[in-house]
């Protein structure tokens, strides 16, 4: 008798793409709103973006049930932090918390591919990119999800920062203005929608800056 393999998986991939771009004093976080399973669409109107703190916004693609649980967990931890410290968590603090939370389940991971965006303690935009078990890095821009392979090279072309080995040290954040960054995000999603079947319907764009949080939607191809 041949070895029996599990035909039930605890995971599913609900698809979708997430992007974040850090600016001098703003951060743009975007994700499409399509939720799929297999070759079917479950809904065209599901938000993958979650505001964890005033200055930290998470966009996650992957298995949405795990993502929902992860978001709830982080929200509860943030409440505890607020009770204890009497203030909101900063984005870098949230970044570390997210990393620790993911690694905690190193041997039964959250099937979540995260991009965390926000403003750091100096008000500059910051983006952190993660793998499923919590390895993270602060970057100037990031993309995760089913369209990431289509999106990332384009972002590299438009935004790639000079090498960190250069002297004098150059800023990783993009010199683009906020409006230019939002326009770039729209372009990127329109392109990804063309070729990635799991990306489409609408893109939700969240812009974080000194004035607060703004949310925009843009329609994408529905096929």
């Amino acid at each position: 008798m041949a070895k029996q393999q599990a035909n039930w998986s605890p995971y599913d991939n609900n698809g979708g793409s997430c992007v974040a771009i850090a600016g001098k004093d703003y951060c743009v976080i975007a994700a499409d709103t399509r939720m799929s399973t297999g070759y079917s669409i479950l809904t065209r109107d599901y938000s993958k973006i979650s505001k964890l703190a005033d200055k930290a916004v998470l966009a996650s693609s992957g298995f949405q049930a795990d993502i929902k649980a992860l978001q709830k967990h982080l929200a509860a931890r943030h409440l505890i932090y607020q009770h204890q410290h009497n203030k909101q968590m900063s984005c870098p603090a949230m970044a570390q918390l997210l990393s620790n939370t993911l690694y905690y389940k190193r041997f039964f991971p959250y099937y979540a591919f995260n991009v965390l965006g926000g403003l750091d303690n100096e008000g500059k935009g910051c983006v952190f990119t993660y793998d499923a078990v919590g390895s993270y890095e602060r970057v100037g821009y990031g993309a995760q999800g089913s369209g990431s392979t289509l999106i990332m090279p384009f972002l590299d072309n438009q935004l790639k920062s000079p090498s960190p080995l250069l002297l004098p040290a150059q800023d990783a954040v993009t010199p683009l203005s906020e409006l230019e960054a939002v326009e770039l995000v729209r372009t990127v999603f329109v392109s990804a929608t063309e070729r990635d079947i799991y990306t489409g319907d609408k893109v939700e764009i969240v812009i974080l800056n000194a004035e607060g949080l703004r949310r925009e939607f843009m329609d994408l191809r529905k096929d």
Binding site: K72, A76, L79, I80, H83
Partner: protein, 273 residues
Amino acid sequence: MFRNQYDTDVTTWGPAGRLFQVEYAMEAVKQGSAAIGLRSKTHVVLACVNKANNELSSHQKKIFKVDDHIGVAIAGLTADGRVLSRYMRSECISHAFTYESPLPVGRLVVQLADKAQVCTQRSWKRPYGVGLLVAGLDESGAHLYYNCPSGNYFEYQAFAIGSRSQAAKTYLERRFENFMDSKCEDLVKDALIAIRETLQGERLTSTICTVAVVGVGESFHILDQNTVQQLIDEFEIVGEEEPPAAEAGDTGDQETAAGEATPAEEGAAPMDI
């Protein structure tokens, strides 16, 4: 109450059916500085006196936010109060996580009371030495509860605990029938007047009291000092209904009262009752 042979253990009954250790714990509440709560249909106000041990130190935190819709004021062993607040916060977070809805106040006070009861029936524990005024909002409106070290809890229209709380209770008993329909601002003023009753002639300023409010459409929050001082000024000027400590230097104080609460106002010496 006097020392007797039945009061060593919390698990020893007295012959009259009393648990003396529990009663001593309730004494500890009476020694703490005053805390007051009152409620209307839509709002609950908590107020407390900030007593610092000496001039050099800061005062103890006596009002804690437990959740957006629940807050608590404590009197007695503040360390016990802090620990219980942490428990309450944790319960609220846990409930909201599981049920995606806020924990009803009534449920929280029962959990708190059960937790207190455990300490009255274990030989290796001692009762919590803190009384809690729990203010909260749920679907059935605004509520104020008092949790005591014995594990009992009661719902109140208005209540006061801590030292000289009887003076505040007397005032509240006179006025409580008006509370249900009061506006939030009036409730706060009533709370401040009740606090003043416990001060025995000492001048009421926003530096020696803390006020917090929770209400329909209003998350639990502690009022900032300026807002409190403005409200105090309003009723100090009017000379509210029979203030027993008639402040003689009132008119002179108004100019200095706004934002300034230093002892440099000895010019208007508070009248002793």
